[in-house]
Symmetry: C2
């Protein structure tokens, strides 16, 4: 049982990669191996399901902008990927805004569509927003006055599950194979010319990864893609391929309350009048409406003191909502007062602390596609095409819409990216 390529992980990155590999290599035997029972059930399912092309790094902009173009096009063609053009709305204090002004200027030059909304206009659009929490608690928490909103137009929501299933269906339609409920336990390293004695491989042998050892036995392939997000270190580091990433936990809490309904459809922002993905000026507390369920997902950035560690099954902590997110949220959106989460979950993301751009690199027959740093869904199509170009031995990948991208720019040896300065 030997495949041309095996893709480990049927999350959004693995499925987009598998699809583009097979699309450009019709007839090849490509297998996706996934430990869960369906695509996108790992950290893809835990994501905020949002997209933006608002990044300071030119690379991240290109990856997301071309991927979003692809998503918009399939959406226009009638594929239901749960796409909602709701926008992103960053709410900044004067100081925060002024610090970021040069980044916005660069973004606009790059073609990012931004709209700047002063406080008085924001109050008309979002009457429930309290731009100036100034009670004693707010002062203690250091909650600054919202001076301006920065609205990203080519941003919104996407159903991560449906998008992953879209790639899965396309992949299967052209002959791709998937094994679900199959966990890859390790990468198999073998000498290119085995001599058949114990203790192989020896240091004087040329070795390569030749396949994967799974709960369903060994599976061999000429090339192995590792697209396992936070699970990558277990596979890669174990065979001496530095995965370069750490795992960080993020938690999501779902709020559903009749009194919050009137937040859902503000006028004057997006065409469909859906609350954008809205980021408050403190600790990256954000609110992401789920328009179909009539609920709101909220989360926040947890800073110094919160460890970078892998957990097989990370759990959301009530205290993280109650004493952290909620305290900030209710000051800027008093309507949230008294609302408790009706649902919650936690996931991991694979952090690249160096520059927060993805890594796509090859070593020993393994192409690693990792380090998406929490913004993988919105870059998945481009990343899948670049990993594919690496597989095809091309110097440049052609992204959706025809833009060329130098494959080695996301590698290690000749990495050429700008450090992302507009991290959520």
């Amino acid at each position: 049982m030997k495949y041309d390529a095996v893709v480990v992980g049927a999350g959004i990155i693995g499925m987009a990669t598998a699809y583009h590999v097979l699309r450009t290599n019709p007839g090849k035997k490509i297998l996706v191996i996934e430990k869960f029972a369906a695509p996108g059930q790992g950290n893809t399912a835990k994501s905020a399901g949002a997209y933006r092309n608002v990044f300071s790094s030119n690379t991240n902009f290109t990856l997301s902008d071309t991927s979003v173009n692809y998503f918009l096009d399939i959406h226009d063609k009638g594929v239901d990927i749960g796409l909602e053009k709701a926008g992103y709305l960053w709410l900044f204090t004067k100081e925060q805004y002024e610090k970021r002004k040069p980044l916005f200027d660069d973004m606009i030059r790059n073609g990012v569509e931004l709209r700047f909304i002063p406080q008085n206009e924001l109050k008309q659009i979002l009457p429930d927003l309290n731009p100036k929490p100034d009670d004693e608690e707010a002062q203690m928490m250091g909650l600054g006055e919202i001076h301006i909103g920065v609205f990203g137009k080519k941003c919104g929501f996407i159903d991560a599950d449906r998008l992953t299933r879209y790639y899965e269906q396309e992949f299967k339609a052209i002959g791709g194979e998937i094994k679900y409920n199959t966990e890859v336990k390790k990468l198999i390293v073998e000498p290119n010319e085995p001599i058949g004695v114990p203790w192989e491989p020896f240091i004087w042998q040329d070795v390569n990864v030749v396949g994967v050892s799974t709960t369903a036995g060994e599976i061999r392939a000429d090339k192995i893609f590792v697209a396992t997000n936070a699970w990558a270190p277990q596979l890669l580091d174990a065979v001496g391929i530095d995965s370069l990433i750490k795992s960080a936990k993020h938690q999501m809490f779902v709020l559903r309350s009749e009194k919050m309904d009137r937040l859902m459809h503000p006028k004057g922002l997006s065409e469909k009048e859906i609350l954008p993905f809205t980021i408050l000026p403190k600790s990256v507390v954000y609110i992401r409406p789920d328009v179909h369920e009539g609920s709101f997902w909220v989360s926040a950035h947890d800073g110094l003191g919160h460890g970078l560690k892998f957990e097989e099954d990370p759990k959301p902590e009530n205290e993280f909502y109650e004493y952290n997110i909620y305290q900030i949220l209710r000051k800027y959106l008093p309507i949230v007062d008294g609302v408790n989460p009706s649902n919650k979950w936690a996931g991991l993301y694979d952090v690249n602390s160096i520059d927060a751009n993805p890594y796509i690199f090859e070593k020993g027959n393994v192409i690693s596609v990792i380090g998406l740093s929490g913004s993988g869904i919105m870059k998945a199509d481009a990343v899948g095409r670049i990993a594919t170009a690496m597989y095809n031995g091309q110097e440049y990948a052609e992204l959706y819409g025809g833009k060329k991208f130098k494959v080695s720019d996301l590698g290690i040896s000749n990495r050429k990216v700008e450090k992302e300065l507009f991290v959520l």
Copy 2:
């Protein structure tokens, strides 16, 4: 009990840092905390105890060259740091040499003293060297013919233990404190303005590392240096400071045999006629004489298939000598035939896979001095001075001899180094 600064780790990096911090800040309360009973007993003690200024990265060259100058000067002043000016001797096949030729040209322009020794001359200097192993086994192992030797003059051996003790003595002589047998279990993160309720710190609080929790209780300091090499991830990642490094194991085997004695003093290389640190053309198998003990330390690079993982107490594996190092060694140095190790040990080093230059960066009151990638001893003095300049808020460090070094070049945000291409 509050210190101006605490340095975690009394290895060579921690001790050099502590000494330079106190030297430039006389009167300050500086404490080094070490889990072992003496300085340099962790991975410093496991090192090959060698120095070289032969690096392709201009940064690594500067760090090592100025540090070596310092070591040579204290040696000349009569401090016994076990320094032996034996040189380094890289043995290359024609192909390996030609690939590295542009690097050597750059090094020479940089001021690195190299001598190129053709095969016939090598055979005169090292009559026991078999430059062309060509039996069936050698062919199977892919052992190429040694075409040339590249001899680094400003290279040699140093006693890592004595060097670390030198810094310890200097540090103590100016009032530095050290706590041995004290293990730092974790970094203490606290809000700058605690409100004294459970669940602190909250995400809306400004937080910092304020001290360390140790087996001898809590110790507080205004600044904390982490110089713990392979132990850094446990401390840093745990509080959300990405340590960026992975741990890799290296093993050392000691050979002592009367018949090998004649290898010890080749004529025509170094003034004192000591066998240089000699690197064979396959799998970085190297031999490092211990002239005082009359023995030879041998090791090798373990490639793909050997995991990057932390182990509290890594063990050397007989098989790594027997089936790997020994097989290569005895082909190029038949005199080694039949010699078994009389001693062995294993240590870890902290690998920076991205560029193999050190990281010195500050976050949340913690200055991390890590990623030495197996060549820490030879860079220790410069690295200690740069970490000190960061502590002192200086833009440039003054290295030994007066050379200026921009502190942020080894940081993360504005890192400016050349990827090291001349890794052992």
